[in-house]
């Protein structure tokens, strides 16, 4: 579960990126986080992943208090979250299999667990048979599927996707979003940051609309209706 209560973030240069935001995302929910540039979406994602610390209020992520979390606990917290980036962030010198294996090794998985889990996850994202391909040999959509697989491979309770379709054409975007919806249906909480109205309107999920660091709307429905 993710819970923000009067969360604030003021950067060292004085910029107030988040101004007293409160919301709760329950386990198993699918939520779109939308809003114009500079509305605080990226800052919220960074607070959720422990890249930055909130300067006010409370942020709880899967039982970890992000304003009081000890440095040695951050890796443990991150293992409860799978992060997907707009630019995929795959390691170009490693194969698809090794990219996923690295994520598993990083959390202490045994070679046996790695051999058992990776084929299952690749099958889930529709990349069976691409184990030995390098990222450069894949299309943009396939690379993002690898990123989804990497986010999923450690079986996190939450997936955070930061503009996951920003570098993809509309067809591939829909495919990735459908994949995330399927993952959500398996019980994983999914939070998607996006500015693509079409996709938000297509899936009709809960939408949290942000503007100037504040929540301006929080409801299930179309982008325009929530952000009105």
């Amino acid at each position: 579960m993710i819970r923000m209560k009067d969360a604030e973030k003021t950067y060292e240069n004085g910029t107030k990126a988040v101004r007293g935001i409160s919301f709760q995302i329950d386990d198993g929910e699918f939520v779109f986080l939308v809003g114009p540039s500079g509305s605080g979406k990226s800052t919220i994602i960074k607070m959720l992943t422990g890249e930055i610390v909130p300067t006010g209020g409370r942020v709880m992520v899967n039982g970890f208090s992000m304003s009081r979390i000890a440095e040695r606990q951050i890796p443990l917290m991150r293992r409860t979250i799978g992060v997907i980036f707009q630019d995929f962030r795959l390691i170009g010198s490693k194969t698809v299999y090794d990219n996923l294996a690295l994520a598993m090794r990083a959390v202490g998985a045994t070679p046996r667990e790695i051999r058992g889990r990776i084929p299952y996850v690749l099958n889930l994202v529709g990349l069976r048979g691409k184990e030995n391909a390098y990222p450069d040999e894949l299309s943009g959509g396939e690379q993002q599927r690898v990123a989804v697989a990497r986010a999923l491979v450690n079986n996190p309770s939450t997936i955070v996707a930061d503009e996951p379709t920003g570098n993809l054409d509309p067809v591939k975007s829909l495919e990735i979003m459908t994949l995330l919806e399927r993952i959500n249906a398996l019980g994983t909480t999914v939070i998607v940051v996006t500015h693509e109205r079409g996709l938000v309107n297509h899936f009709k999920k809960r939408v949290i609309y942000l503007q100037e660091g504040q929540v301006m709307g929080d409801a299930t429905g179309r982008y325009e209706e929530v952000g009105r």
Binding site: P75, L76, R79, V83, I91, A106, V107, T110, P111, R150
Partner: protein
């Protein structure tokens, strides 16, 4: 950790080869640093050995009691050699002592008719540890039949001070060189790490601990340090032999005693190996520190 050990070593080796040029640069820097440190330390070691040799030449002279017969005086040698720290005790009869004395003034006929009776039988005593001259001199004086012992403690103390100063300067300079080496190697490895900051950021994002990320870099540093140490050791050997040859053929330096490399090769190898590992592991650990703050 246990099942990741093989992975850490493989990754460390793979990283070293995949960043070939930077690895070459890092090894080159290690070799240069170790060679400078090694050459300096070996010169300091030889200076110290030569000073110790000169100090050993500064012997204790033990004068035999006049009341002892000639034969009894000559038997004292065995007793003296039993004294702790005495390496050798050479008997010098009063006649030989007279001759030595007179020979010092061979331009002057003032002492030509000097009687040997003026001199005492004596022993020239060389010490195992010249630093313990005062204690040994007292022990020699306590041997029955020895009237008095003389040793130039001022000269001995002068040598001790000189050796201590030389050792202190050597240690200080080697320490400074070691720190400089660590700094240079750290910056060289930092350049290779810079290429991989994205990879590190990804590992941090999936929940890798700092230890998991650091280990492959530590092994890479270890390998670079060891390879640098092996290359530096071989070059040091060649350089040392050239130095020995240079000293032995020089008109002015051939008086110096150079310790053969084969007598010290094992110590040099261990020190180079340890320093290489320290420089490599220390440098890579320092280099990666800032990239772990994600």
């Amino acid at each position: 950790m246990k099942h990741n050990f093989g992975y850490f070593i493989r990754e460390g080796a793979r990283n070293m080869f995949s960043h070939g040029f930077m690895s070459f640069a890092a090894i080159g820097v290690t070799v240069a640093c170790l060679l400078i440190m090694g050459t300096f330390a070996l010169i300091a070691f030889n200076v110290n050995e030569n000073l110790a040799e000169l100090q050993r030449e500064n012997a204790v002279v033990a004068f035999v009691d006049d009341t002892l017969s000639d034969s009894h005086a000559q038997e004292l040698g065995a007793e003296l050699e039993k004294v702790e720290n005495v390496a050798s005790a050479t008997f010098v009869s009063r006649e030989e002592a007279r001759d030595n004395y007179v020979n010092n003034y061979d331009e002057d006929d003032l002492y030509s008719d000097l009687s040997a009776e003026v001199f005492r039988h004596r022993y020239v005593i060389h010490l195992e540890d010249p630093d313990l001259m005062a204690e040994t001199k007292t022990a020699v004086e306590n041997v029955e039949g020895i009237a008095k012992a003389r040793g130039d403690e001022a000269v001995s103390n002068g040598f001790i001070t000189l050796r201590n100063v030389a050792s202190l300067i050597s240690v200080a300079l080697v320490a400074v060189l070691l720190v400089v080496s660590l700094f240079i190697i750290s910056n060289t490895i930092k350049l290779t790490t810079f290429d991989r900051r994205e990879e590190i950021a990804i590992m941090k994002m999936v929940g890798a601990t700092n230890g998991f990320i650091r280990w492959p870099f530590v092994f890479e540093g270890l390998l670079l340090g060891l390879l640098g140490a092996v290359a530096a050791f071989i070059l040091q050997w060649v350089l040392y032999l050239a130095m020995c040859r240079g000293v032995s053929t020089s008109d002015t330096l051939q008086l110096l005693r150079i310790v053969p490399f084969l007598r010290i090769w094992d110590i040099v190898a261990v020190v180079f190996g340890a320093a290489g590992i320290l420089i490599g592991v220390g440098g890579s650990t320092m280099a990666i520190r800032r990239f772990l703050k994600v």
